[in-house]
Every structure is written in structure tokens, then in C-alpha cells.
């Protein structure tokens, strides 16, 4: 017994000696050939015991020696590459783990690009090509039975997963295709499938083995962020393999179970993303969620509450997976409860960005689609309470998308939970999002097996609304069947667009008649006609208007829509604007005082703000003719748009400000173009100059004094938002006026006081106000009078740009910051070294 090992050892020592020192090619060749006996697979193979001793004890050392010897001269010792072939075969045919380690080790040990490095790299590539990785991992599956070598495993793991990095570092530009991560990890995925196949085969054969090493490889690869590559290969193959095979399914479950905790999240996220549907996901994961704490946390909390970048298809798979098994179903109810709790909490609503709210809403709707009445019944009260809280704070929001989201989700929930009473019904415009959400809420038919074919869920979900739309259109038949086919060619219809309902012509001809008709007339037609005629009358007779301007403004402000007049709001607003323009000082004084007066509705107050903005815009418009434009003149879009949009809540704010900023940039950019000489607009005095103060200061003075009916700093934050937008717009329109500097100062103070307001709409207004201060107040004055305020504003802007939950706020802050930066660059070009 003692002698046999020494035989092997002696021969190996002899061989090492020969290889390292001999210059005789033939001798080396024969030595290597004789050692090859110990690798088996030949007719003159050594006895089993000797082979085992060789592979466990001496193989690595011998390989190292071989690796170190590699050089062009050495290979030249024997012509026609026979030596090289034999040399390589030791690495490719010997035990894969040791060969792999030695290969990696020696590649690592080579200092720079050289012949040897390239040879080794090529050999490694060949090693990969010949599927030795699978052999390596397979070897580890069997090794489990012996007391393991944790050290070896660790090294192997890091080498296997880190291979692309190491090779990339080593080879730099010479890197081979096989070692690119996208190729390598796909290959690794295929090798994993092969190993699993072997495992399954051996389990069928009654042999026990473990997939623990494979799990660890998988986990580590996923932790390294290579889920897409490796799972992209693995999942489709497993999908087909697990179909109808319990053994495969169990191996899969085991594979995921054995993934170490720290890698569990990466693996699960990747799997849920890659799985084409809940059925497949269930086959791959089994009841892992119930068994594994970490998996439970990832699946029921992390993917739902903490992340929101995933597509809907992933939510569908995840929640569908939870719904598919009776053991997992209670989790779904619990998830729904928690989701609704989050949805209903007002602080979550304030601090979560809109995409996350959408994500949570989608998850809720999918849960509802999966759950049956009985299951919902148990936690009905709780769900209802959360829903009501959520709806309440969403409807309070001043951002339309948030409100709409609240309405849609509430409608669906109430129809599912509260089915004895009438379901909630809101009015909202249908758009892509609402259709998508509603489609999610309809339970999918049971046999929706499209997922099997590997098609993703998205198109399936997307098709549903399209189909319903298509089927809703009635089949259009011939409109009327004409019995005898008369040739109608000669009877071409004339344009009949002028065919309107006849209205009696009772419009008053004079301003005072109009006012009388509006205040006292009981005749609805006369009232309507008066309203229609008023704007024209105001423009036509400015003098008469000035006599009664305040009374007229009062009448219009208190006007209520008595009959259903098309475009009533617009008519009234335009007329009020006309009156304001005709007599700015007095009417503005009246309107601003009424804004803070007692008995007005929020609607009226917001109307006042809109009118002030539009009037200011009209007054400041360069080239405004002395005579106002024709009543009801077309294209109000071009001149009323920015201010109107600025005073409306919602996402339209951002693009308009971008427009404004772009326009400013364009106006500030010097161009050396050879275009045709442009006619400069004729110089006009800015009519807004003399009255800007009347518009601005009364509005900004009293916002912090609450009335019984009107509390700007309290719950009337919608009006406050409008106010901030209006002030910003007025500031912007006051560019080049003398009051701009004091206005800017007052506005900065106003902004400072409100900067931590909870409502995103208010904050948006504040940010746009800052932008308009920066744009309108002369730069010199800004730096001289308000340096501290500017500094403070700058730090606040930076803070908002980084941390604000609302995306529009962040964008606006960023734009304001850019303006600030530009200002600084322009004024202090040399201050910075």
C-alpha cells in the first residue's frame, strides 16, 4: 500500500523534471504520453487507484508545471504542433475543476500581453467551448457527498463568475469573444441546463446529488447583475423542460431554494422578470414564498412596495403566481390589504412619486382581479376604510393625474367590494392609462395559455381594450336601401354647415342696456344675447366702459350661468378681461380686493386670478394696437396659451415653461446669420408698466390672513397654487418695467415663506415664480439688492432638484437652477479662477 503512491509520485516527479529541464522533444513527448495513462480513457489506462491518486494529489502541480513551461521555443521542440496538442489535452481532459483553477491562476499570474497569455486564453476559450464548465459544475454536484471544501468552492465560484472581468482586465483589447459577459453568461446558462439535465438523469437512476453549487453560481451571477443574460437562456429552457415533469419541477424548486439569502433577491427579480407568465413562474418557484423568509420578503414587499420600475407584465406574473396555489393565496389577500393601506395613507401619497402611485394602483387592480368575492368579504371593512381614505386625499390633490388615479381605482374597488349598494362612479376622461388600468381590473379568462409560447403578457393585456373597442362599433350597413337606383350624380349636396338653430336677435346695442339685461332680465334669450354682445361693446366703446367699469366687473364676476350657454365660462372670462384692459387701474383694484373678500366661491376666486393673468398678458403684449382686437378674434391660442396653462394645474405646466425658457434663450443668443433683414417691431410703450403694481401687490399682501370662508394657508391650497402661478406669470410679464425689482423682492420673500408647502402644485408655482424672477428682474439689480435671497433660493432649488418627490417640481427646479447659473456666469465671468 505504501509503495503504490510512491510509484505515482516518482513518475510525476520524474515527469516534472523532464518537462522543466529537457530539451529533447521526443523525450518530453514520451514522458507526457506515459502520464496521460493516469487520465484514463485509453486502452492502456492505469489502475483506478493510481488514477485517483494522480488526479487528487499530483494533477494540479503537474498542470502548473506545464503551464509555466509554455513558450514558443518549448513548443518548437517537437515539430507539427504535436507537443502543443498533447499539452492542451491535459487541461481539457483532466478533472475540470483543477484544470480550470490552474488555467485561471496562470492567466492571472502573467504580467502583460505575451505569447503565453494568448495561448492560455485560447486554451481557456477551448475549455469553455468543449463544455468543460458543465463538467466542472457537475463534479461539484457529486462532491457534495464528501465533506466539502468550502475554500475550494468559494474560489471556484468567484473564478467561474468573475471570469469575464478577469479576462477582460488581463487581455484588455485582445479579449476574445467567448469572454464577453453577454456571451459568457449565456453559455453559463446553457451549461447550467446541461448540469441540471445530468442531475435529473442521475436522480432517475436513483443516485443522490445536490444542486447547491449550481444555485450558488446562479446566485452569484445574478448578484453581479447578469440576470438578463443567464436567465434569458435558462428560463425558456426550463419552461419547456418543467412542463409535465414533476422531477424537473422539483429540481428547479431546489435550485432556487438553495440560492444563498444574499443572492435571493437578485435571482427572484430576474426570474419574475424573465418568466412569461404566472403558470411558468409557479412551475419554477413552487411554494418558495411560503418556505423561504427572504423570498417572502422579496416577493411580497420589495417588488411591490419598494420598487416601481418593473413593467406590468411582471406584476401580472408575480401576483398571478401568488394566486395560483391555495397555500399562497392567503398571501395575496394580505398583499392586497397592505397595498391598499399604502394607497390610502395620505403621507405616502404626498411623498411617493406619481409613477410609484401608478405602480401600486396597478398592483391593487391585479390583486382584485385575482381574488374572489369570498376572500374579499373577510377583510371588507378594512379594505373599504383604506380605500375611502385614499380616495379622499387623492380627490383633494391639485394634480389631475393623481385625482384621476384615485377615481379609477376607487371605482374598481367599490364595484368589487361594495356590491350591494350602488358602485362609485366618477367622471373622468378616458385615456391610455385609464384604459390600461381598467383592463387590468377585469379578471383574465382561466385558459389564457398564450403565456406558454413564451409571448409576454403585455400584448395580451393591451389587446383587451382594443378588442372591446372594435366590437363596440356596430356593423355599419347601408344607410338606406334605395329601391330604384336613381343616378344621383347631378344632385351634389351644397355646403350646409351654415345651418344652425335660429336665435332671435335681441342683442342690446348699448353697454348700459347690456348690464341691465344681465342683471334684471328674466328673458333668457335676451340675457344670452346680452352676454354674447358685451365683449364687442366693451372694445367698441372704451369711454363708455370706463364710466361703468367697476360695476360691469362686479356684474360679470357675480354672473351665474342661468341657461345652458355654450362657452359661458369663456365668454364671461373674455369679457372680464376686456373690461380689465379698458380700465386697468380701477378694475384691478376692485378684483384684487374681491379676491380676499368674504363671500366668494373658490371658483370665483380662481376666475379672478385667471382674468388678472390674461389681462396682464394682453396689456404687456408688444405691438398691441391702441384699439383692442376685434371681439372674439381668432387665435386666442397664440397669445393666451402660456398664461392660461401656467395658471392651470397639471403636467402642462412644464412644457410651457420650457417654451418660455427656450424663447428667452433664443432671444439671448446672438446669431451671425445672413437671413433677410427683419422688420423690428415698432417700439411701443409697455402699457403694463404703469399698472403692474395694481395687479401684483394687492394679491401678494394678504395671503397669510385667513378669513372664515377662505384660508389660503389651510385647506384651500388649490387656490394658493393658482395664486403662486399667477404671481409668477405677472412677474414674468412685468419684464422691462420699473416695478420689476420691488416685485421680485416681494415675490422671493413670498416664495421663501412657502417653500416647504406640502402640495406639489403649490411648489410648482413657487418654482416657476423663481424662474420668472430670474428672467424678469434685471440681473444687476438682482445681485445688488437680493444677494442673500438668491443664495438661499439657490440652495433650496438644489435641494428640491435632488429630493422632491414630484417629477415636475424637480424639472422646474433644475431649470431655475440653470437660469441662476447663467445669471452668475454672465455677471461674474472672471470671479472664478
Amino acid at each position: 500500500m505504501d509503495l503504490v503512491p510512491s510509484v505515482v509520485r516518482l513518475e510525476v516527479q520524474e515527469a516534472i523534471h523532464t518537462v522543466s529541464s529537457s530539451k529533447d522533444g521526443g523525450h518530453i513527448l514520451s514522458t507526457l504520453g506515459s502520464l496521460k495513462r493516469y487520465l484514463g480513457e485509453m486502452e492502456n489506462a492505469a489502475p483506478l487507484g493510481e488514477r485517483e491518486e494522480f488526479t487528487t494529489g499530483h494533477f494540479a502541480a503537474f498542470l502548473r508545471c506545464l503551464a509555466s513551461k509554455l513558450s514558443p521555443d518549448w513548443l518548437e521542440l517537437v515539430p507539427d504542433g504535436r507537443l502543443e496538442e498533447l499539452w492542451g489535452s491535459f487541461f481539457l481532459e483532466g478533472p475540470a475543476d483543477q484544470a480550470f483553477l490552474v488555467l485561471m491562476e496562470s492567466i492571472e499570474g502573467i504580467a502583460g500581453p505575451s505569447f503565453r497569455l494568448m495561448k492560455m486564453a485560447r486554451l481557456l476559450a477551448q475549455f469553455l467551448r468543449e463544455g468543460r464548465l458543465a463538467a466542472l459544475m457537475e463534479g461539484q454536484c457529486w462532491r457534495q457527498r464528501q465533506p466539502g471544501f468550502p475554500q475550494l468552492w468559494e474560489t471556484l465560484l468567484s473564478r467561474v463568475v468573475g471570469l469575464p472581468d478577469q479576462l477582460g482586465n488581463r487581455l484588455q483589447r485582445e479579449n476574445l469573444d467567448e469572454f464577453f459577459p453577454q456571451n459568457y453568461f449565456s453559455l453559463l446558462g446553457e451549461e447550467v441546463v446541461r448540469v441540471l439535465q445530468a442531475v435529473v438523469d442521475s436522480l432517475r437512476g436513483g443516485l443522490d446529488c445536490s444542486v447547491s453549487f449550481v444555485s450558488q453560481v446562479l446566485g452569484k451571477a445574478c448578484v453581479h447583475g447578469r440576470q438578463r443574460e443567464i436567465l434569458g437562456v435558462l428560463v425558456p429552457q426550463l419552461t419547456t423542460l418543467t412542463q409535465g415533469s414533476c422531477l424537473w419541477q422539483r429540481v428547479c424548486w431546489r435550485l432556487v431554494e438553495q440560492v444563498p439569502d444574499r443572492a435571493m433577491e437578485a435571482v427572484l427579480t430576474g426570474l419574475v422578470e424573465a418568466a412569461p407568465g404566472p403558470e411558468v413562474l409557479s412551475r419554477l418557484l413552487g411554494n418558495l414564498v411560503v418556505k423561504n423568509k427572504k423570498a417572502h420578503f422579496v416577493m411580497t414587499r420589495k417588488l411591490l412596495f419598494l420598487q416601481y420600475q418593473h413593467p406590468v407584465s411582471m406584476l401580472q406574473s408575480l401576483l398571478g403566481h401568488l394566486a395560483m396555489d391555495s397555500q399562497r393565496r392567503p398571501l395575496l389577500v394580505q398583499v392586497l390589504r397592505e397595498l391598499l393601506e399604502t394607497w390610502g395613507s395620505s403621507s405616502a401619497m404626498r411623498h411617493a412619486p406619481l409613477p410609484q402611485q401608478r405602480y401600486v394602483s396597478k398592483a391593487i387592480l391585479i390583486c382584485l382581479a385575482h381574488l374572489g368575492q369570498r376572500e374579499l368579504e373577510d377583510s371588507r371593512d378594512e379594505l373599504l376604510a383604506s380605500m375611502m381614505a385614499g380616495v379622499k386625499c387623492r380627490l383633494d390633490s391639485s394634480l389631475p393625474p393623481v385625482r384621476r388615479l384615485g377615481m379609477i381605482v376607487a371605482e374598481v374597488i367599490s364595484s368589487r367590494i361594495h356590491h350591494e349598494g350602488p358602485a362609485l362612479k366618477f367622471q373622468y376622461e378616458e385615456d391610455e392609462l385609464s384604459l390600461e388600468l381598467l383592463a387590468l381590473a377585469t379578471p383574465r379568462p382561466a385558459g389564457d395559455g398564450a403565456t406558454e409560447a413564451g409571448t409576454s403578457l403585455m400584448p395580451a393585456a393591451g389587446e383587451t381594450p382594443a378588442e372591446t373597442v372594435a366590437s363596440a362599433v356596430p356593423p355599419s350597413g347601408p344607410e338606406d336601401s334605395v329601391s330604384e337606383l336613381d343616378s344621383d350624380d347631378e344632385f351634389v349636396p351644397h355646403d350646409m354647415s351654415g345651418d344652425r338653430e335660429l336665435k332671435s336677435n335681441k342683442a342690446p346695442m348699448y353697454l348700459r342696456d347690456c348690464m341691465e339685461a344681465l342683471t334684471t332680465s328674466e328673458d333668457a334669450e335676451r340675457w344670452e344675447a346680452a352676454l354674447g354682445a358685451l365683449e364687442g361693446l366693451v372694445y367698441r366703446s372704451p369711454a363708455a366702459t370706463q364710466e361703468v367699469s367697476v360695476e360691469l366687473a362686479k356684474v360679470l364676476l357675480h354672473l351665474e350661468e342661468r341657461t345652458c350657454v355654450a362657452g359661458f365660462e369663456g365668454l364671461r372670462q373674455r369679457t372680464l378681461v376686456a373690461v380689465t384692459i379698458t380700465d386697468p387701474a380701477r378694475v384691478t383694484e376692485y378684483l384684487t380686493s374681491q379676491f380676499y373678500a368674504l363671500n366668494y366661491s373658490l371658483r370665483q376666486r380662481m376666475d379672478i386670478l385667471d382674468v388678472l393673468t390674461l389681462a396682464a398678458q394682453e396689456l404687456s403684449r408688444p405691438g398691441r394696437p391702441g384699439r383692442a382686437p376685434q371681439p372674439g378674434s381668432p387665435n386666442p391660442g397664440t397669445r393666451c396659451l402660456p398664461a392660461q396653462a401656467a395658471s392651470r394645474p397639471g403636467s402642462t405646466v412644464a412644457p410651457d415653461w420650457r417654451l418660455v425658457v427656450e424663447e428667452r434663450i433664443r432671444s439671448k443668443t446672438r446669431r451671425f446669420s445672413k437671413g433677410p433683414p427683419r422688420q423690428g417691431a415698432a417700439g411701443d410703450p409697455n402699457e403694463f408698466n404703469s399698472v403692474a403694481g395694481y395687479f401684483f401687490f394687492p394679491l401678494i399682501q394678504r395671503f397669510d390672513r385667513p378669513l372664515v370662508t377662505f384660508d389660503l394657508l389651510g385647506e384651500d391650497h388649490l387656490v394658493l397654487g393658482r395664486l403662486t402661478h399667477t404671481l409668477g406669470a405677472l412677474m414674468y410679464l412685468a419684464v422691462n418695467t420699473t416695478v420689476a425689482a420691488p416685485m421680485g423682492k416681494a415675490l422671493l420673500e413670498f416664495v421663501w415663506g412657502l417653500r416647504f408647502h406640502v402640495d406639489a402644485y403649490v411648489r410648482q408655482g413657487l418654482l416657476s415664480a423663481i424662474s420668472s424672477v430670474l428672467l424678469s428682474v434685471p440681473a444687476q439689480r438682482l445681485l445688488e439688492d437680493l444677494p442673500d435671497e438668491l443664495l438661499e433660493a439657490g440652495s433650496w432649488l438644489a435641494d428640491v432638484a435632488e429630493k422632491d418627490p414630484d417629477e415636475d417640481c424637480r424639472t422646474l427646479a433644475l431649470k431655475a437652477l440653470l437660469l441662476l447659473e447663467r445669471l452668475r456666469d454672465r455677471l461674474l465671468p472672471r470671479s472664478s479662477p
Binding site: D486, D488, E490, P493, H494, D495, G498, L502
Partner: protein, 327 residues
């Protein structure tokens, strides 16, 4: 819908002014005088009948026979030299216009003070039939002219309560010797009378409001009626002489004073209270044009044989339109 290119709204070919009072009746006399263009008669609220030459576009003569009371109906007899005019002075005058004369040769006393226009059935024979509102509220009287002998009085059964007759139309089917009378009543119903047997063949309620005007196309056995309401009703007559509502057409504004089908039965025109004349394709009832020219209610429309359309309005003007001229 099918035609992508729409013709612009048409303008009147010319306008006749000078009646100095709202126009209530229009009638073309075809070119018996072989002068090419026909004459146009118009009856005004001031009781005058103007005779217009379409050649010179001037009034040729004025007939004053109704004592300042509104003229509501004008009709020439086929011989062409005699004109019937119905006025609200409760007289129906027969004028002799031959050889430049303009004298009243005969007159019939009307018993009804309503607005119902009379109707005649004259096919070249010396004797002709006249239908006019009768003495009782819902009666229609039939006279044989020129002898003025009362043929019969048509009255619905007691419990029908149709109200006053509002418009009348006499015609005779080619195959049958019986003259037939269509009458639109105040309750919105249209009745078909067999005059010789003095019985109602059929009666349908096709409007909610009083029937203001009707016209009948005996070739297609279809007729159309307009009312004070918004709806234009097309009804048809089947073999058993029963009326059926064929279809209805909703108008933009309520009120139709008169409906007339062009003699070639291609189009029809309505005189609207909304100041517009509407033109429809008769076969399909497809709207073809809205003629907006008048500034007050259009009271009457009439077609000449060559397709010229005349509309008379409360704004004292008569507009003439040439639409889809006959080829």
C-alpha cells in the same frame, strides 16, 4: 358623406322687390304665351296680386281684388287665361287675364276664416272641381265649377276631432275615375278622402303639430307634409289606398309653411319659418341645400316647370333660385 367636395351654399339668381308687404302666395304660369319664360304671380298681405315678368324682372300688373286682406292662394286654370285668388276677405276670385284684361269675372264666397288654401282639379275640361274649407270647423266643401254647385261636404265622424283643415290637395289617379282629396288637419293628421263616395280612405297622424303644407307625387304614390313642428313626414299610399308613414326627417328648426315637389319629381323644397328654404332629394330625402337669404319667415315656395324655384318671405322679397337645372 360620400361627396368630398361640397358646393358652396348657393345664392339666389335674382330677387324681386316691391310688393311692399309680406308675400304669402306664389304661383308660376307656364309659357302659354310662348314667350319663353313664364310669369310669376305673387299674393301679398296687403291684398294685392303682382304679376311679374321673369324676362324683365319687373311687375307687369297689379291686381287689387281683396279689399286689403291677405291673399293666401293663387292658381291658374290650365287654359292659362284665368287666375284664381283666395283672400282672407272670404272671397275666392276668378280673374280673366286674357288679352291684357284684368277683371274679376266670378267670385265664390268662402265660409271659413282659416288659413287653409284651396285646391282644384282641372284637366282641361270645361268643368273643374274646387275644394275649399267649409262652413263648419272641420268641414271641407267640394264645388263643381264654374257652375259653383256644391257637390258635397266632407266631414269626419263626430268623435275624430281633427280640428280645422289646414291644407288640401286634389288629384285623380290615372286608373280610377274617382277624384281623391288629401287634407292635412290641425291635429297633425293627414286624411285621404274619396270624393265621389264621400268617405275617408285612410287617416294617419304623422305630426304633433298642425300640418301646414303637403304635396303629393301621384306617380310614386308618395307624399310629403310639413308642420309647425320640427319633422318632415313622407308617407306613401298602398294598393288599398291606405296611408303609411314612410319615413320622417328631422329639421334643424321647427316650422314649415309650405312643401312643394318640383314638377319633375326630383327634388322638393320647404318654406321654413327659420328664414331658410331647404331643398331635399325627393327619392332619398337627402338634404341638398339650405338656402339662406331671407331675413324673415319664408311663407311660400313654388317651382316653375323649367326648375326655377321661387320663395316668398315675410321680409317682402321674392327670391328666385336656379338649382339643379333640368337638362
Amino acid at each position: 358623406m360620400a361627396a368630398p367636395l361640397l358646393l358652396p351654399p348657393p345664392d339666389p339668381q335674382f330677387v324681386l322687390r316691391g310688393t311692399q308687404s309680406p308675400v304669402h302666395a306664389l304661383h308660376f304660369r307656364e309659357g302659354a304665351q310662348a314667350q319663353g319664360r313664364p310669369l310669376l304671380f305673387s299674393g301679398s298681405q296687403g291684398g294685392l296680386v303682382h304679376i311679374w315678368s321673369l324676362q324683365t324682372r319687373r311687375a307687369v300688373t297689379t291686381l287689387d281684388g281683396h279689399g286689403g286682406q291677405c291673399v293666401i292662394w293663387l292658381q291658374t286654370l290650365p287654359q292659362g287665361h284665368q287666375l284664381l285668388s283666395q283672400g282672407r276677405d272670404l272671397r275666392l276670385c276668378l280673374w280673366d287675364l286674357a288679352e291684357g284684361r284684368n277683371t274679376i269675372v266670378d267670385s265664390v264666397r268662402l265660409e271659413s276664416v282659416g288659413f287653409c288654401r284651396s285646391a282644384i282639379l282641372a284637366e282641361g275640361q270645361p268643368r273643374w272641381m274646387l275644394a275649399m274649407p267649409g262652413k263648419g270647423t272641420d268641414e271641407i266643401q267640394i264645388l263643381e265649377m264654374p257652375s259653383k254647385t256644391s257637390v258635397c261636404t266632407l266631414k269626419l265622424e263626430a268623435d275624430a276631432k281633427p280640428g280645422m283643415p289646414m291644407c288640401l290637395g286634389l288629384w285623380q289617379a290615372n286608373c280610377s275615375p274617382h277624384p281623391l282629396l288629401l287634407a292635412g288637419y290641425e291635429d297633425g293628421s293627414v286624411a285621404l278622402w274619396d270624393v265621389s263616395e264621400q268617405k275617408v280612405c285612410s287617416r294617419i297622424a304623422c305630426h304633433e303639430e298642425p300640418v301646414m303644407g303637403l304635396d303629393f307625387d301621384s306617380q310614386k304614390a308618395r307624399g310629403v307634409s310639413g308642420s309647425a313642428g320640427k319633422v318632415l313626414a313622407v308617407w306613401s299610399l298602398d294598393g288599398q289606398q291606405a296611408l303609411q308613414v314612410h319615413r320622417t326627417h328631422e329639421l334643424t328648426n321647427p316650422g314649415v309653411a309650405e312643401v312643394t315637389i318640383r314638377p319633375d319629381r326630383k327634388i322638393l323644397a320647404t318654406a321654413g319659418w327659420d328664414h331658410c328654404v331647404r331643398v331635399f332629394h325627393w327619392q332619398t330625402m337627402r338634404p341638398l341645400a339650405v338656402l339662406a337669404f331671407h331675413s324673415a319667415t319664408v311663407q311660400c315656395v313654388a317651382f316653375a316647370r323649367d326648375g326655377l324655384l321661387a320663395a316668398g318671405s315675410k321680409d317682402q322679397r321674392i327670391s328666385l333660385w336656379s338649382l339643379y337645372p333640368r337638362t
